[in-house]
Each structure stands twice: as structure tokens, then as C-alpha cells.
Symmetry: C2
Subunit: 290 residues, 2 copies
């Protein structure tokens, strides 16, 4: 695989960063993961806008988004993935500087790293389901910033794996907020519910697509807290992410969600999501343009 690092393309195993990179020393950067369907990045603008938001929140010198478009396109071409489903990874850190917690000199150049990975065969299976556990949220309180300081997410995700499930849903102050790499939805009284955007959750790009789909499909959807106490009685639970799209959660803490099968509204939204992708792929390809 060819990757991009600070202006250069190289094989992945030759791409290295300085030990003084603030990504390595401080987790001081942000990242994005974008799905490209048959080589076309989906909702690229929304991802680049979230990247811009994170860079601004961390006050990292801005990077011309045109770079991400050009490099993304070239990485897919160079890796012969222009016709494949894959993910595009972007990471920007505050750059290389002597180790001090406070910001380095203003002219410090951010580190820009980009790579592509083919989607695994089962990633987009329409029959995929997952199981999850609820655990206390011990992350920082700026989860709206997609920062690479991810050690809490790593530990939480591993707790799920150790429990024999796929995802851990993080609970803060009685609210089931989101997964370690997914946005959370539940269905109560035939209404789709997801937590309002705040500093405690990531503003999910796929989450936004689901909100749009609900509107288009005439499904009532409300942005209101999903309480831990309530989620165990939900009619349906599902999670969303860029690479997994929409996936039913059929078991929580070892107990089935409702009858333990993917719910009616979840399946409807999954089908609607596939229609969106299909029509996206039928349009003329301007997915790399502004």
C-alpha cells in the first residue's frame, strides 16, 4: 500500500514520523475515516468539515482541504482501488517540535498523514448484527473533537471484546451516549431517538444521514437523551458508523433487545441507506469536488 505523509508518497512500511511529532508525544491531532464506495468518497464534504472543526477546536494550523481531495484521489488510484469499496484515513497533528505541553511556535507545520484500506468482505453485509455492553464513560468531555488521544476508546473497545461482544456503549450521568466508534439510536413507541449533539458525543456523519432518511421516510425522529434505564426496554437499538453504516444491536449486556432480531425501523433505514448509496453511485462522479 502506498500512503501519504507530509507531501511524500511511500510504501506504508517506509512511512515514519519523528519521535518529536506531537501525535506520538501528546496524541495532539485529529483524524477522519471516510468510506469510498467503488472509489467514490461518500459525504466527503461533511467529513472535511468535521476535520476543519476539530483542527479549529485544537487550534492546529489549518490545512488547505484541497490537499485531502487531491491526495485521496491519488491514493485510490495508486493503490488500484478506484473501483473498490475502501476507507480513506486522514490524520493531522500539530507537527514536530521540542516536547512542551503548550503550543509550539506558530510556524510549526502540521503533520498530514493519509492512507487507504480496502473494506473487508463482510463489512457491508445487510445481515450484520452486533452485540454490546453498557459501560461507564470515562473519556474526556470534548468527545465532539475527533482527536487521536484515543486511549479511553481503546480500553473501552477492548472491554467489549473481552466481554465477547462487538461494541461498548458509553454511559455518562445516566445517559447512554454512543459507542466507542459508533453513534447510538434507539426506538421507543415507534419513534427513532438519538442523543442531541453536544460536547459529549461525536457529531456522526452517518448519524446525520439517518436523520435525513427518517425525514424522507416519514419516520418520527427525535434528538433527545437515551437514558440507560430506558434503553433496556427499547423496541429497537442500532448503531451507525462510516464503515459499518447502520447495524442492529440485538443484545445488550447479555439480554436480547426486544425479541433479539433486527427491528422493523432499523431494517427500513438500512434499506433506505442502500438506496442512497445506489443513487450516489448512479450520479456523475463529482464526489472529489467541492
Amino acid at each position: 500500500m502506498t500512503v501519504f505523509l507530509n507531501g511524500k508518497y511511500s510504501p506504508r512500511d517506509e512511512a515514519t514520523v519523528s519521535v518529536d511529532d506531537r501525535g506520538f508525544l501528546f496524541g495532539d491531532g485529529v483524524y477522519e475515516v471516510i468510506t469510498a464506495y467503488r472509489g467514490r468518497p461518500f459525504r466527503l464534504n461533511a467529513h472535511l468539515e468535521r476535520l476543519r472543526y476539530g483542527l479549529a477546536a485544537l487550534r492546529i494550523n489549518s490545512v488547505d482541504p484541497e490537499i485531502f481531495r487531491q491526495v485521496g484521489r491519488k491514493l485510490l488510484a495508486d493503490n488500484e482501488l478506484t473501483g473498490s469499496d475502501c476507507t480513506l484515513y486522514i490524520q493531522v497533528t500539530r507537527g514536530v517540535a521540542p516536547r512542551l505541553h503548550s503550543f509550539p511556535p506558530e510556524n510549526t507545520q502540521p503533520t498530514v498523514y493519509m492512507s487507504v484500506t480496502p473494506l473487508s468482505a463482510g463489512a457491508r453485509s445487510p445481515n450484520k448484527t452486533i452485540t454490546a455492553i453498557l459501560i461507564p464513560d470515562f473519556r474526556w468531555s470534548r468527545c465532539d473533537i475527533k482527536s487521536v488521544s484515543l486511549v479511553a476508546n481503546v480500553l473501552a473497545r477492548q472491554r467489549a471484546i473481552d466481554a465477547g461482544v462487538k461494541e461498548a456503549i458509553l454511559v455518562r450521568d445516566g445517559v447512554a451516549l454512543e459507542g466507542t466508534f459508533t453513534s447510538l439510536f434507539a426506538v421507543f413507541r415507534n419513534e427513532v431517538v438519538t442523543n442531541p449533539n453536544s460536547n459529549y458525543i461525536l457529531h456522526g456523519v452517518t448519524r446525520d444521514v439517518v436523520l435525513e432518511l427518517c425525514k424522507a421516510q416519514g419516520i418520527t425522529c427525535r434528538e433527545t437523551p437515551i437514558f440507560e434505564q430506558e434503553i433496556r426496554q427499547a423496541q429497537e437499538v442500532f448503531v451507525t458508523s462510516t464503515s459499518m453504516e447502520i447495524v442492529p444491536v440485538i443484545e445488550l449486556d447479555g439480554k436480547p433487545v426486544a425479541d433479539g432480531k433486527p427491528g422493523r425501523l432499523t431494517k427500513r433505514l438500512q434499506a433506505a441507506f442502500q438506496d442512497v448509496i445506489t443513487s450516489f453511485l448512479e450520479q456523475p462522479d463529482d464526489s472529489w469536488e467541492k
Copy 2:
């Protein structure tokens, strides 16, 4: 400067890590900073024990602490710092693996990085004082782990710099816990107070030295919460860190602490700390031994 990375010594600007290092991708690692006085590491065992604690908490494969001793010694020698005051930096990450939040295969080798930096001329000045602000703590709730996922500390420290002060004291649920790189002490009714060790603060090595000094000096010291409301009325406030030792905080949020001068007990503890260093340096040098 010669640094150490995964078994190799090299000039600092030639030491690089893979873009797939979990330190760079996830801030998935821990670190230590140890002061060496005239080339002798102070409280090395306490630092290595804290490193071991952090590695265990993150479930990173253990590293034989003998390596840190051997490499530390050699780095000081190779950089001609055996007679100088300097800091030794150690960072251990979960190693290099394809990007997945959950833990990589068990045989993944941790990345070990070590470097040395001479202490700046003014670092140990006995007349040093600092100013600080109080800000809400937005870090994760495992601050007892000295993780390199430090973006919250970076932002907090920068807020202090932007406010024209040296340090930001982090306040959680009404308790003034610690600084971004320092432990916090206050004096009330002639008693020294510091927060009890918990998951919300780092277990400071210099903090422990101060507790010992209080005992030896007959100064009453209690480990009890320092409330935000109270700290503004403190007789004295000081912070401690490995590289700064004990430093009076003479101003909080733009208002003087008491009369705005270093307090009596703070100065007494500073003097006692210097005596400890002096006697440490007078003893036969077994500072690198177990």
C-alpha cells in the same frame, strides 16, 4: 542528542516511528519524566513503579525495567550529561499494528523511546514563583494513568499561557485537583493539604516526597479534597513536579494568594527538599541500581 528507540541509539532527528505506531494513531502508551541531579536519577524506583502501574492499567506487554536503567545510564553517558542536571524521558506504546481500536495480537512488541534533556538554567531557582488560573477539568477520569493521550492537558496548559500565567489548576466537581503537569498543595490553618490519591489525579512522585518531608519536619499534612471555594482563601498554595520540584503559587485567577509572597511552610519545604537532594548527592551513587 542521542536518543534510544526500540533497541537502537541514534541522533534525535533520525529517530522515527512507524505511522502505524499506536502512540501516533491512538495516544496508546504511557510516559515518565525523571530528573537526574548531576547525572543521578532521583527516585528512579518510584518512577519505574508508576510506569509499571500505567503499563499494567493499559495492559501493554510489560518491559523489563532493567532496560530503562541500562539505557538511561548510557544516554546520560553518550550525551555527556553524567555530571549535569537533566531530565530523562521514557515513553512506551503498545507498538506497531494495523489500525484497530482493540488490542493488537499478544506478541506485538511495545515501542520503547527514551531521551534526555538538560535542565534549563532557571529550572531549579529557589526564588521561582508561578501564577495560575482555575479551569474546569475536561480530562478523562483515569488521570492516575500517565498516558500520552494528552490533548486535554495540552489545551489546558495553553489556556494558562494565553491567560498570561504558568499553570492551569483543574477543577472537577468543585475540587481543585492538580495542575496540567503539577501536583497541588494548599495551606489552611497552618496545615498542609493535598488531594487524596484517586483516579482523578496523578500519583506524584514529588508529591510523595513532600508528604515525607512534612512528616520529618513535624508539619501536619492531610490528604483531603482542596475545594475550589476554599483555595482562594488559602494561606499558601504551591505545586510540585519532577522537574520544577516545589514552587509557590503567588497568584490565582489574577488575585494574590494571601499577601502574594511565597509562604512560610512552602519555603520551609523547599529548603528541606534541597537538603534531601544534597544528601542524595553525598551518598555513594547507587541511583541506577534496583
